[in-house]
Symmetry: D2
Subunit: 495 residues, 4 copies
């Protein structure tokens, strides 16, 4: 219903009414115009109708949706299932061309346009979040792991052929380690240093490794900002300075760190004061990665990002960021109270602005029982208990209940995402042996449980979590007590 | 993505590609332009993308979807559920205004536009189907019954106050009779005349009633064109001539008759040669009904019609009409064969171009057993049998199995829409007693089963129906035989 | 994914995880179970996923969606357009059968089930809103006008044949009057009585009409509870008592009155203390209407109601009702302030708990200029001005600007739903002449503007409305002033 | 609506009807049951309703959709936009876990189940297509290029550290070359051997390279089966035997080769008779790739595959495969006719069962004009002409029109996917210089144009393509002629 069609419509419905409707349509087209000319997040988020207007028009600009197109190539974005076509608005060509994911796709003007807009809005969103002057963004349809691998592969031509090591301040999360190995480099684990409750980057240790191995043997340092407490974010500024001095590349895995203003400020500072080659999210050296990403890619993840950013707009995006910061403070305070009531401590980890850790010291088994913990996987890895028919819980009664069982109890009460970390777990990851795995260091002094204040977490979530956690504490203690009694009884009767 | 926005997009994606996409968008807008300027069915049906383009733009022209609208009335088309909003594309105002369903709704330019288009395309579709020069169409969101009632109410002011009767050639379908009563008139049933297998309009009998009651006592004659065989379509041309002579109104219930070219030709002919006030589907005196329809109405049925007509286009619509005509011939031939194989007859009903009837004479119970049939409702009204657990079928064993049980068997074998009519059923409808109810006459000479060749029925449907019907015949005969044997045995032992 | 399928899934994905998922599915099935067994609004509203689970399963229980169905009837719910099928979840059979809208449809078990649930939940929602013990509800897919007509038609058999009049306390809204005429009755307008600012039911006048015409000549009284201020809701309790005494039927048009607790209480009281035959929304004598509604009907409106009620649940429904009551108080207070600032009055209409009226006395033209008002339709009926190109506004300059032009100004500023009522408008509706049309009485003492506090109106709506209204006041006065000056200048030069 | 809920529904709607509906629901559940127990493509494709039943139930088994879930992790699959949630049926967790894409995701039982089913059905679909006994399939959400890179990275641990080369029979498509470089290996280009029109694998040359470099210096050979004619599919059987003898890995890029029974048979044969480590599509050594894929991944591509496979079923899949084989024969025959009519040849390339090439010899410019071709990119890379405003076409008039301009003409006439290859193009790809780029060899004897007979191409597509190609031939010759005349004129006048 462009202006010409609205004029024709006046012959069917009163001009005054049609004109008012026509102006409403024009108002939406002006939003799209502003987006195309300013190429930034709209200040106010768009409603779904405007978002779909953009997507559908773009889809109709792709050749597979042309009314009179004849495709005689081997890949013409034909879609067999109407269900699939509909859920992607008919966008089926994907993005990029042979050998370059950032290239325009001649058959798909609309998809190419949406991809460009996604890159631009993503860059703006990063800036709104506090990552300043960090260059252009490239949104690749890859999860964090594959993105790190791609970034490492892209370093190959930039470092000497002798560069086979990647220095890696330890973080007990498999993705990063596997990414290093997948790219053909050899990881050198640099232990974290404990400072009070907190585990912080041992910059001096990194420096010593650089001296020991020689800068030319080292491809880069991979630092991590977003991690589970009590590990702090790596000191990316200090590492960036060190890398600049030594001439070593530096990749920052800022995965979900974008949601914290503090982390964004640190990344920005590292960028300004030292060397940062790639931030997993943004870099001006990203072109190399783009050219390295071989072939086309599916568009779904970009499209989801684009829709979400338009849905929020800059003000919505700022609002959810601010809510998260507030939520972190709220969670901190509530966990503090909870800890005091239950004889535990909220670990003091100011260097981690997203994740919090609650000690589980009061549940610690007497010496000599820790060996089993290792055999008892954390709740999330092997939740053993059924909610309705707690058969598994019953089976556990015969052996001393390990603290990780608390994780199973939470899982079965529909608490997801927290993590019970018991001391003493040994695990091999990618062929490397780790002591104290899960705690980011060989011997953290206590067991603990982590909670994240992430984008979208609500105060109700925290409250309900603590309510259920309190119940689990009670039940867990009762179970331990019964075991104790049974053991004593058994001990007595056996006499 | 109008031309200005496409121009801006050229700064992001290559001009050549954007231009090609822009032309594809323009091609769709031209289709909408053609619709708005020609106001006829597009020759070729539209794809869903173009249909949704029209609907969404129209929806955004309604005030409830204006970005900056402030509604302070009592009815502002606010929608509580996103699910509801989405399934109507945000169209929520309905159509019409207080007191006039055909009036434009100032708050809803888009809805008003779609309603107008629906009326125009519906008129064109009627003309394509063969109903010529029958005036403008008004699509009311009413099922057939309410539409007849509305048409009758609209007659009040046009007929003398003494006009209390409606002459009604009998058709055993409750809707029409109830419509007459709902409108406050008194129905006068005119029996059908049997001619061979066929039941035809007894025009002389109608004439006699007119003379007996006097024209001023009669509001109108309501004729029916679409009905179950062996009733033929009413002779609407003869009735129209009679009505013109007598100065009586004439309403034709052409409900689903539009799918038959023969019926459309008859209606057109009646219109040209005699008096027709309203065809349920089209009339030039429809304005009166429009003005009588009190208040606004929901838009959903109109919208479905509009989408369907655009989906077909004129060529698609002609194609489904032609397929139906061919299907009627196919069904006739296959039923003929089937009848011969099973010792039955396809009733000869050339006056009914949609419905066919197959005799069930070979199943007729010996004299003296017909009385029960009345108690045994037709399959469709009380299907008594479960497919997996044929408990009901078993229960029936004790009593002689009536022919209507064949209907239950078909229902349980997922055959829907056919009708087994047994002789001798008495039923009161709207306070009037009917003999031989279901057969459109007091005493049709045989039991029979009806089958329709309707829009969308396929040859496979007919084939599969006859396959299952053949099985039912076999099973039904076996059941009868067992009963017979059991009865003989019981008779024997009782001796 | 019933229990058996979940068991099979355990061979593919870990049992613990599948079981947790299976329990989540079971929790949703339990919600549906509770709905089917309790047949009341669920206390908590359902999310869309559960609503769609119900709708889709129901749709798959209709024969047109059976995998192996063969339809050989004339109406088998075949859907030509996938777009249409999808938006109705494949529900295509409609509700009811020939001659009875409340009857089960054998081919459509799912549709029949949803229709039953809609009736039951609607009754519960009415009770939650405050309409107690008013019998079963029947949701008919009719707008208010057709519902009143149907209710009146249903009275025919219940009142003597001499009953040709319907007593009707005047309300200047066309639907009700047209409904009375559509049903073949003759309306007798009973004027409202002014009491301070308010127009109230003149019960004595009704009584006088009953005496004058005789009870047997009167079919019923039709009262109205939801109307524009300064008309108050009719005194339904007094009228109900009068009807009981006189043996006359009584229909209450409670259209959107359900949103006010006060109106619901009055209807309940009328029901208990006097005679109420039908409340447009609910009645125990509704069966008669159901049996009268001829034929099947479209299901879309029922489905929308069902979705919305499930979406709200009882608590959500109570919440929106409570918000509306609060909003009325807010609007009253804000309008009061606004009136004081602008030298106007908020009319005192305690008998109307939904609509409010603001006097426009300060704009009244000097005597002798009122004649034109009649020619100048209210904004909503003929908004004459374009926002961008205020040609119409300019054209108006030559003649004295009538107060109804304020309505046009508001329309053009995207304020919908308010109504500017000028004194002295004469209009013929349904052949009856009305003086002071729009004001519900022949000569209301001042011009005014109405605002509704309806379900879904927000405080922001009221604030923004008053902001734009204030601007219009200023502009309107400026325009008047310029005219005045121009007139004086012209007057001067003409001397 | 499980059995218990259907039982409750019998209190609201007749038992017989509900039972029939219940059986229809059960029939759909049985389809899902068969899928879960047989884990193969259903013989008959599913309708959308059954597919959505599976997807929605699975989605509700993911923790982010649990009614009472509390997420306190950093990644809880929260979805900000309802539009995004809806298009993925609420599936938001992705697949895999840290470090293993094939691992179950504890928070997402439903997603994990769908991923497993996708892998199983994909394997079955490959077998139906003719790839027998090739082990389990892993569907990774990666386009071809990233999949090759991943496969190469996975080889690292399996080949000696000295293995730095990848032998690569030349194919002029950038993705594969970039994939080799992205993985850190060094490509060794092995030229194709011309045999008549066809370019075939020079197995002897590969053998020579193995001998020259030494097996331990070579990681693998990467062969390609699906390519543009006149290049034939690589002789994967011979290469597989050679690799087995030499102890070198062998990766087959079978990208879209699955659609050809001949190619599937060759891959199967290579698998049985020699060494194949990975087929991009299927391998039993795929576990290594799975473990290497770092981190989680988006689910969209898998979901699309699952929907499509269920939509087709085995019979639908076989049907589209058979249609494609028939289409290839049709295209071959029609191109043959066209070639004869226009003085060209359909190149004889029996080794390529998907792509066909038509010579463009009659357009060849006289010697000395080929140099420009290099500057003139192929149509798909820089379509220079606008359809409506052929400004670009006009600009071209001054210089001799190169054959690649034919590609631009086709692009502008909405022919997508064909490729005009001119002789003599030099291009650097990934730092390597190529002569005759686009033709897979340094000096192919003629220019040509390629056409693919791909899945979904129709006979109408071929016909319409040839119609438009014929027009382009005529116009191209006219343009050349005019140029010639102009040049002669200019030459004449310059004398």
């Amino acid at each position: 219903m462009d202006v010409a069609n609205c004029e024709l419509a006046c012959a069917l419905v009163g001009r005054t009414y049609i004109q008012q409707g026509s102006q409403a349509l024009a108002a939406r087209r002006r939003r799209i115009k502003a987006l195309l000319s300013q190429r930034r997040l709209p200040e106010q988020g768009w409603d779904d109708a405007t978002i779909e207007m953009l997507l559908q028009d773009a889809a109709l600009m792709d050749s597979n949706n042309f009314p009179d197109n004849v495709g005689v190539g081997e890949r013409e974005a034909r879609v067999a299932s109407a269900l699939v076509a509909r859920r992607h608005w008919g966008l089926a060509h994907g993005i990029g061309r042979s050998g370059d994911i950032a290239a325009e796709q001649p058959k798909a003007a609309g998809s190419s346009l949406l991809a460009k807009l996604t890159h631009l809005l993503a860059a703006d969103a990063l800036e709104v979040a506090g990552m300043k002057e960090v260059g252009t963004a490239l949104v690749v349809p890859l999860a964090t792991g594959m993105a790190i691998t791609s970034a490492l592969l892209a370093l190959r031509g930039m470092r000497p052929p002798t560069a086979r090591y990647v220095l890696w301040p330890r973080i007990d999360q498999k993705t990063c380690l596997k990414s290093i190995q997948a790219s053909g480099f050899e990881p050198v684990v640099v232990p974290m240093r404990r400072e009070g409750d907190q585990l912080v980057t041992d910059v001096e240790d990194i420096r010593r490794e650089v001296e020991r191995l020689g800068a030319d043997a080292i491809a880069c340092v991979v630092t991590t900002t977003s991690c589970f407490a009590p590990r702090a974010a790596d000191d990316v500024v200090a590492v960036a300075k060190l890398c600049q001095q030594a001439g070593i590349a530096h990749i920052i895995n800022n995965a979900y760190g974008v949601q914290s203003a503090a982390l964004c400020a640190q990344v920005t500072s590292a960028w300004r004061k030292g060397r940062v080659d790639t931030v997993i999210q943004s870099t001006d050296k990203v072109d190399r990665v783009a050219r390295l990403y071989p072939g086309r890619a599916a568009m779904a993840p970009l499209l989801d990002l684009l829709i979400t950013l338009l849905h929020w707009g800059a003000s919505g995006w700022r609002a959810v960021l601010a809510q998260r910061e507030a939520l972190y403070a709220y969670a901190q305070q509530r966990l503090q109270q909870f800890a005091e009531q239950h004889g535990e401590r909220l670990l003091d980890t100011p260097g981690n602005p997203i994740s919090l850790a609650l000690s589980l010291s009061s549940f610690e088994a007497p010496a000599g029982q820790q060996g089993q913990v290792e055999q008892q996987p954390a709740a999330e890895q092997q939740p053993a208990v059924d909610r309705q028919q707690p058969a598994a819980e019953q089976q556990q009664r015969q052996q001393p209940v390990p603290i990780t069982f608390l994780g199973s109890m939470l899982f079965n009460r529909c608490i997801s995402g927290n993590r019970v970390v018991a001391r003493g777990k040994r695990q091999e990851v990618g062929g490397l042996p780790f002591a104290g795995y899960g705690a980011h260091c060989d011997a953290y002094p206590c067991d603990y449980l982590t909670v994240a204040a992430a984008l979208g977490t609500s105060e109700q979530d925290i409250d309900e979590f603590l309510r259920r956690l309190g119940q689990c504490f009670v039940e867990f203690r009762q179970r331990r007590q019964k075991q104790q009694q049974a053991a004593e009884l058994a001990g007595g009767s056996s006499v």
